[in-house]
């Protein structure tokens, strides 16, 4: 307050205040705001240059994170399983003399000692000349593929127990993932013999698991059962690759994969199994 204020009445002050207010309001009257021009600048600085007229709500769906986590865990599991799997265990395939069919003998001879290689070649050439083996024949062949080492029997027994105890859910996921990896890494026509042997060995291991799964609770589902049967056929074919393959072996495998849509079905089953884990 200044000294002059004391001399003025409240009314006079109010009148002066109103004069001041009106004068300032007139002299500082704002122009019409350029709303659109200002918004263009704001929009560019806040939302960037792209200007979609309709906004897509890109909030991550609820199911995405758990699925992503499950997929990541699956990939890690596959990777660990692939590299940690014992490479020294060799599937020794023998034919049961009593029930052996010529086709079974072919498989047995293909996996036998090097001294039998020549025989296997001649037998192999016969089998290649024949059309793709039927599912029934392959089933008969695979029924006689047995693991002879004690450690393998124990492992198979343990695996079977796990399948039946836990409903086979997580084991099924792992099996399907490993099978996918194997089928995706099938050697090319020009691949070295070493890669054939490694893949064939792995296919033999997965074939044993396929049998166990077919006889487990998990394999009682009709869709899954049909898939396992198809995988059994493919894996049996892959298990026969031992570096001495004929050029059409891989072609037959790929035909089987394509004819039965195996890989897409394995993919679907993997997702199904991972969500039920």
């Amino acid at each position: 307050m200044t000294s002059r204020d004391g001399e003025r009445t409240a009314m006079e002050e109010e009148r002066m205040n109103e004069t001041i207010r009106q004068t300032l309001a007139a002299s500082r009257r704002p122009p019409e705001p350029p709303l659109d021009a200002m918004w263009l600048q704001i929009e560019e600085r806040v939302f960037g240059n792209a200007k979609p007229r309709f906004v897509l709500h890109t909030r991550t769906p609820r199911w995405f994170i758990p699925t992503l986590a499950a997929a990541a865990a699956l990939v890690c599991g596959v990777g660990l399983g692939w590299y940690a799997a014992p490479r020294t265990v060799v599937t020794q395939v023998v034919a049961s003399p009593a029930a052996a069919t010529p086709a079974t003998q072919q498989i047995a001879s293909a996996d036998a000692t090097p001294s039998n290689t020549e025989n296997s070649n001649t037998e192999n050439s016969k089998s290649v000349a024949s059309p793709m083996p039927s599912r029934a024949t392959a089933r008969i062949q695979n029924a006689h593929l047995v693991a002879t080492s004690d450690s393998r029997d124990l492992a198979a027994a343990r695996l079977a127990s796990q399948f039946n105890d836990a409903g086979g859910g997580s084991e099924m996921s792992r099996y399907l993932a490993q099978t996918t990896v194997l089928l995706a890494s099938l050697p090319s026509d020009r691949a070295a013999a070493e890669s054939d042997t490694a893949v064939a060995t792995r296919a033999g291991e997965l074939l044993t698991q396929t049998h166990l799964l077919l006889d487990s609770k998990a394999g009682s589902d009709p869709t899954l059962h049909r898939l396992l049967e198809d995988l059994e056929l493919v894996l049996a074919q892959v298990a026969r690759l031992r570096g001495q393959r004929n050029g059409t072996d891989l072609q037959l495998i790929h035909q089987t994969l394509t004819a039965h849509d195996v890989l897409p079905r394995v993919h679907d089953a993997t997702i199904e199994a991972s969500t039920t884990d």
Partner: protein, 177 residues
């Protein structure tokens, strides 16, 4: 659509929701910026900066106060910062003369009155000038001013009263001449 919903959509990147919020508050923010700066370009820049700052800090807006209150608080801060940093006093005086001529027309007495009062307002310390402009020219309540300037409501009243007294002195001196 409620303001809270609009805010949520802006946070998701919905620029149309942003435009709705902007339309609801931009005019008043611009008016305040112009009243405080008397510079069209500055008012425009300050308005843009206010909304850019508000949208970029929307995550931190707790919605305890209304969005309007919050954005005017930002606007006052942006304008004061601009006035302090740019120091466009001389340019503003030129603008004041132009504004005075537009406002007063050919009336010499009114023109002189407006010019003197404008200068008196500009000479007021910022702590008095801002509450006076917000209250007497833009109609903000003392509560809103207090919130925007982070002062007590009573302090706002005192500062407006003090600013008025200064301007009355100017008016009296002009009349006495």
């Amino acid at each position: 659509m409620s303001e809270a919903h609009l805010i949520a959509r802006v946070l998701e990147g919905d620029r149309l929701a942003g435009r709705e919020l902007y339309d609801a508050h931009a005019s008043r923010v611009y008016r305040l910026a112009y009243r405080m700066t008397c510079d069209e370009n500055m008012a425009r820049e300050c308005t843009q900066d206010t909304f850019v700052r508000a949208f970029s800090r929307l995550n931190g807006f707790r919605q305890e106060a209304a969005f309007g209150t919050w954005i005017h608080r930002i606007a006052v801060s942006v304008v004061l910062q601009a006035l302090r940093s740019q120091r466009r006093q001389s340019a503003r005086f030129v603008d004041m003369e132009e504004a005075r001529e537009v406002a007063a027309g050919d009336d010499g007495h009114d023109a002189e009155l407006a010019s003197r009062l404008e200068r008196a307002v500009d000479e007021l310390p910022e702590m008095y000038r801002t509450p006076l402009i917000m209250h007497d020219l833009e109609g903000y309540t003392h509560a809103a001013i207090a919130d925007a300037l982070s002062i007590a409501e009573g302090t706002s009243k005192t500062r407006v009263a003090h600013a008025r007294a200064k301007l009355r002195d100017t008016l009296t001196a002009l009349r006495d001449q």
